[in-house]
Every structure is written in structure tokens, then in C-alpha cells.
């Protein structure tokens, strides 16, 4: 299969997936209740009021037309006006995006470097005391509920040690028309705890994967061959082992990055980090439906796109990779 048809196929799959998701979303919204009652007062509305509202919302149109309107709104990012902030929902999401993005990027950089390093250390010497300790620690790290981890980080880092602030973004600096915390010292201090909270489970996950990959690859003949022909362990690690385990690692990093956008919900809420996760939870609690829809749609689309990119990256990285047959 050529790279071109791989790209084409994978993109097609992503588009189909998004289409199905939009259908489910459309049905879901209609199942929840008549949206007319969002704009008219149920107690005082007359039949004419409801009639007018129905026409205004386009609910008198046939169902496929309604879906087209819905899809068009999705595509143009038109989710309506926030009931609470009285701003277009989508631009509200975009405004909160940089905060989430910088948090996730910093956390993922941390997780990827530490995770790969720890995984390599363990995988080079399977069965040793160090390896067993790392493995055990990783199970613990994966077992900590993220909200409790966040709170314990606040307890340890902010309340007991008093070194880091317990919430908020701190000072920000403007770049490319957005505010970024990474650019200021105060912002960085605010970033440490939430980034750790997001990174710790991912360090464990990446370390386990790296360890397993290393053990598998190092057992293969060509690595034994490299040893037999006298290559330095350093060179074997960098030129042979690492490239061969990179495919699953890149995959998990991509997937987890998408997952972080979703899981940031918890961490952002606890650390009062004004990103899209906090926006989502606040909006759910305030019943701000347009913002909820806009946020969920955005995260889903981002995740699906990221997934597709990871698959394509695999195809580039490893010429043998055929895209896995789905179904």
C-alpha cells in the first residue's frame, strides 16, 4: 500500500468517524428535550409563542434539513451564544484553549522524557531489583486517582512546603495574540503542580510501554547480531533499539495527549486553571448548553484528528506499517 492511499484511507476514516459522531450528537440533543423551551418561558408561553420559536429554530423543517443546518453550524463553529457569558460559545472555547494547550504540552514533554528514560533503564536489565521496583512503582502511579493526586500535590507542594501556588495561572505574557504562562517565572511556578498531576500517570504508562518494547526488541536476533559484531551498547541503543520501539511510544504519546485534553477537566478544576476543562465543568454546572456542546465537539474533533495524525506518522516512521484493518 502506498503512502498516498494510506493517507487517503486514514483521513477518510477520520471523516466518517466525525460524521457518525455528529449524527449521534444531533440525535442526542433532540432526545434530551425540546430546545424550544430553552428560549421561551414554559409557564407563560402561548401556543403562538411556541409556534414562532419553533419556526425561528427551524424545527418545522424536515429532519434531514435540520441535520444539515446542525452540521453547517458545527462546521462553521457556530454553537450559539453562551447563556452565561453572552459570547459566542466557540470563541469562548478558543480563548481558553492556550491555557489547556500549554499545560498538556508541558506535562507531555515531562512524561515522555522521564517515561522513556525510566523505561529504558528498566528494560535493559529485566528481572533485576531496580526493574521490579520500577514496575511496582508504575502500578502505584497508575492507581492514583488523578483528582486525589492533584489534591495531595496541593497539600504537599503548596500547603506544607509552601513553595508553589495552589491554583490559578499566575502572570502571563502575550505571544501570537494569546496569553501564555510558560513565558513568565510566576506562570511557570503556577504550572509546576498541575503539570506534575497530569504527567505522573503518563510517566508510568510510557515507562511500562518502553520497558516492554525494549525487552522485546533486545531479544530479537538483529540486536544479538549487533552485539556479536561488536557494536557499542550505546550505539545499539540509539541506532537500533530506540528506532524500533519508537512506533508504539509515539502512538501512546499521541493518544495520551488527546486524553490529556479530556482529563485536564479534573486537574484544571482543582488547580483553578482557566482552560477548556474547567470551562466545560463550569458550564455543565451552570447548564450553559452551547458552551458544553462547543467544548465537547472541539475535544472530540481534536482527539480524532490527533489519532489520525499518529497513524500517519507511524506509516512514515516504519515503511512496513500497513494501516491496521478496522473491522
Amino acid at each position: 500500500m502506498t503512502l498516498f492511499s494510506a493517507v487517503f484511507g486514514r483521513m477518510g476514516q477520520a471523516v466518517v468517524l466525525l460524521f457518525v459522531m455528529s449524527l449521534i450528537g444531533f440525535v442526542g440533543i433532540h432526545a434530551v428535550g425540546n430546545p424550544v423551551f430553552n428560549i421561551v418561558n414554559v409557564e407563560t408561553a402561548t401556543v403562538e409563542d411556541i409556534q414562532r420559536a419553533t419556526i425561528a429554530l427551524g424545527l418545522d423543517q424536515p429532519i434531514w434539513r435540520q441535520y444539515l443546518v446542525f452540521a453547517e453550524d458545527l462546521l462553521s463553529g457556530n454553537f450559539g451564544i453562551s447563556y452565561v457569558y453572552h459570547l459566542p460559545a466557540f470563541s469562548l472555547v478558543m480563548e481558553k484553549l492556550p491555557a489547556t494547550l500549554e499545560l498538556a504540552v508541558v506535562a507531555m514533554l515531562l512524561a515522555a522524557t522521564l517515561g522513556v528514560l525510566i523505561g529504558l533503564v528498566a528494560g535493559r536489565q529485566p528481572g533485576t531489583r531496580l526493574d521490579r521496583t520500577i514496575l511496582r512503582a508504575s502500578v502505584f502511579a497508575l492507581s492514583i486517582p488523578s483528582f486525589w493526586l492533584s489534591m495531595m500535590l496541593i497539600l504537599g507542594g503548596a500547603i506544607l512546603a509552601g513553595r508553589f501556588p495552589s491554583g490559578g495561572r499566575g502572570a502571563t505574557a502575550r505571544l501570537f495574540g494569546s496569553d501564555w504562562s510558560v513565558l513568565t517565572v510566576d506562570g511557570l511556578r503556577h504550572l509546576v503542580l498541575p503539570a506534575l498531576a497530569l504527567a505522573i500517570p503518563n510517566i508510568a504508562l510510557i515507562a511500562r510501554l518502553t520497558r516492554a518494547g525494549t525487552i522485546e526488541v533486545e531479544g530479537l536476533d538483529f540486536i544479538r547480531f549487533c552485539r556479536a559484531k561488536g557494536l557499542s551498547p550505546h550505539r545499539i541503543l540509539l541506532r537500533h533499539t530506540l528506532p524500533n520501539i519508537s512506533v508504539p511510544i509515539v502512538t501512546i504519546i499521541g493518544l495520551q495527549f488527546g486524553g490529556m485534553l479530556a482529563f485536564a477537566v479534573v486537574v484544571e478544576t482543582i488547580f483553578a486553571w482557566p482552560g477548556i476543562g474547567k470551562l466545560l465543568i463550569d458550564s455543565i454546572q451552570l447548564l450553559d448548553r452551547p458552551v458544553v456542546m462547543a467544548t465537547l465537539t472541539f475535544v472530540s474533533v481534536a482527539f480524532v484528528t490527533l489519532n489520525a495524525l499518529v497513524d500517519l506518522f507511524q506509516a512514515v516512521l516504519d515503511p512496513r506499517v500497513r494501516l491496521p484493518r478496522k473491522g
Binding site: 468517524l17 457518525v20 459522531m21 442526542g28 432526545a31 434530551v32 502500578v139 502505584f140 497508575l142 492507581s143 492514583i144 486517582p145 488523578s146 483528582f147 486525589w148 489534591m151 495531595m152 496541593i154 497539600l155 500547603i159 495552589s166 488527546g258 486524553g259 485534553l261 479530556a262 482529563f263 477537566v265 479534573v266 478544576t269 482543582i270 466545560l280 465543568i281 455543565i284 454546572q285 458544553v292 465537547l296 475535544v299 472530540s300 482527539f303 480524532v304 489519532n307 478496522k326 473491522g327
Partner: protein
Amino acid sequence: MIAQTLRTWWKWWKWWPFRHNELPKLFLCAYVLLALAAPLLAPQNPYDPTQIFAWEASSAPGTPSGGGYVYWLGTDGLGRDIASTILYGLRISLMVSVISSAIAAAIGLAAGVSAAFFGRWVDIVIMRLVDLQLSLPTMLVALIAIVTLGPSIDRIILALVIVQWAAYARMVRGVALGERGKPYVDAARLLRLPTHRILFRHVLPNSVPPVVTLIPIEIGHAIALEATLSFLGLGVPVDKPSLGSAVANGFQYLLTGQYWISLFPGLALFGLIASINFVGEDLRRRLDPRREPQ
């Protein structure tokens, strides 16, 4: 035939517990016993307002109670005994996760085996659904489900089932397809065995062990997810706290130094998930195909 199948399964069930790596298993057993015996052990019923003394709210651990017992782990902002809250919360957390995992495993098993065995459009439809679900983070799916369904215990279980079934279905299908391609199934087909016999006597007994390893992992996920949702206020109702909502209750008190309200329920939750994960890890290592029993 069902008795036969059960006996085959019993054969490998009987050798799993209590060999090495005892500690997590002991912990897990203790957790289950504590949860079952909560009403007997807990000095206070945290769901019963008449047993709660509001003036003893936020007592530090070790404070004697007006009810004649000691708040070994302190009380929360409403005056509920933390130790009792943990015991009762454990019940809800375990119940919700075990029930949802059982339903999800049953649905997943049925869907996966059907997909593998009937193939064609059945396979396509089921696997597209699985893809759809697995291509989104669990947290997102749970949030979407809760937002559309609304929070309550049965809705939470439903959301957890929606989140989990696909993982089972995909694994069962993969394993069953792999087994179906093996020569021993070919040999069975050559004997013209009835399809159900091939399925229940040959494919299923060999597909179940790998799937079993998924159960503890998924239960662990379910507990964590339920706790997270409850923490966010989207889970079980506040008057019947699970471990997650118990931790959430303490959040606002954390900054004023009343650490115990969040610390102890969280610790209990952490210990529960960790012991399940360790047992799961052990189970998976034991059933690793690379160490077939000799």
C-alpha cells in the same frame, strides 16, 4: 453442557488465588469484607441525619464523639465520621464498578463472539461501534453520557457500561478470531461439530483466560472513573457519598489545613485501586501465552 463449560472454567479458576504476591490479594479481600460488613463495623450511619452531630463538624482525627465513640479519622464539614463514610462509600464504589464491569463484560463477550463468529455485516456494525467508542478518551465518553443522561446511580452505571463494553468486545473478538484460525478448530469443523459446540467447547474456553485479565483492569478503571465523576459533582448524589464524593467534600477544607477530610478517603480509594491493579498484573503475568504451563 453448561455444567461442562463451568467445570472447564473452574479448572483454571481454582489455581489462581493465594500463591505468591499475597499482599494485594489480602488487601482486596479485606476491602471486600469491609464493604460488605460496613453497617456492622461503622460506628455511625453517615446517610442518617439523626446520627450526625453538626456541632462536631471538622473534628480532627482522634476526637471523641458525643455518640460515645472516637472519630479516629476525624469528621467532615457536615460532622460525618470519616471512617464510617469510607466504609459506606466503599460499598457504593465497589457496587457501581463491579456491576458495571459485569454488565459490560457480558455485553462485550456476546458482541465480540458474535462479531468473530458471524462475520460479515454483524462484524462490521459491531466493530464500527467499538471503533467509535474507543477512538474517544473514556473520560470524554463518560462526560458526554452523563451530560445527556443526567447524574444518578443507575445512570452512572449505564455510563460506565458504555465506556467499558467496547474494550471487552474488541479483545474477545481478537482472541476468538485468533483461536478460530487454529488447527484444533479446523479439526473440530472437520468433525462437523454443531456450531454451538465449536463455540462453547473449543473457542470459548480458550478465549476466556486472556479476557479474564481484562476484568481487574476494567474494574480498577471503573472505580477511578466513578470516583472522578462523583468528584466533579456528576456522579452519585451528594447525600449518599461514594469515595470520590467523600474526597470532593474535603476539597474546600484542604486549603485551611483540614487535610483529613480528603486524605483518608483518597488513601482508601488509592489502596483499593492499587490492590486491584496488582492482582490484575499478577493474573496477566500468570496467563501470559509466552509462559504456557509445561
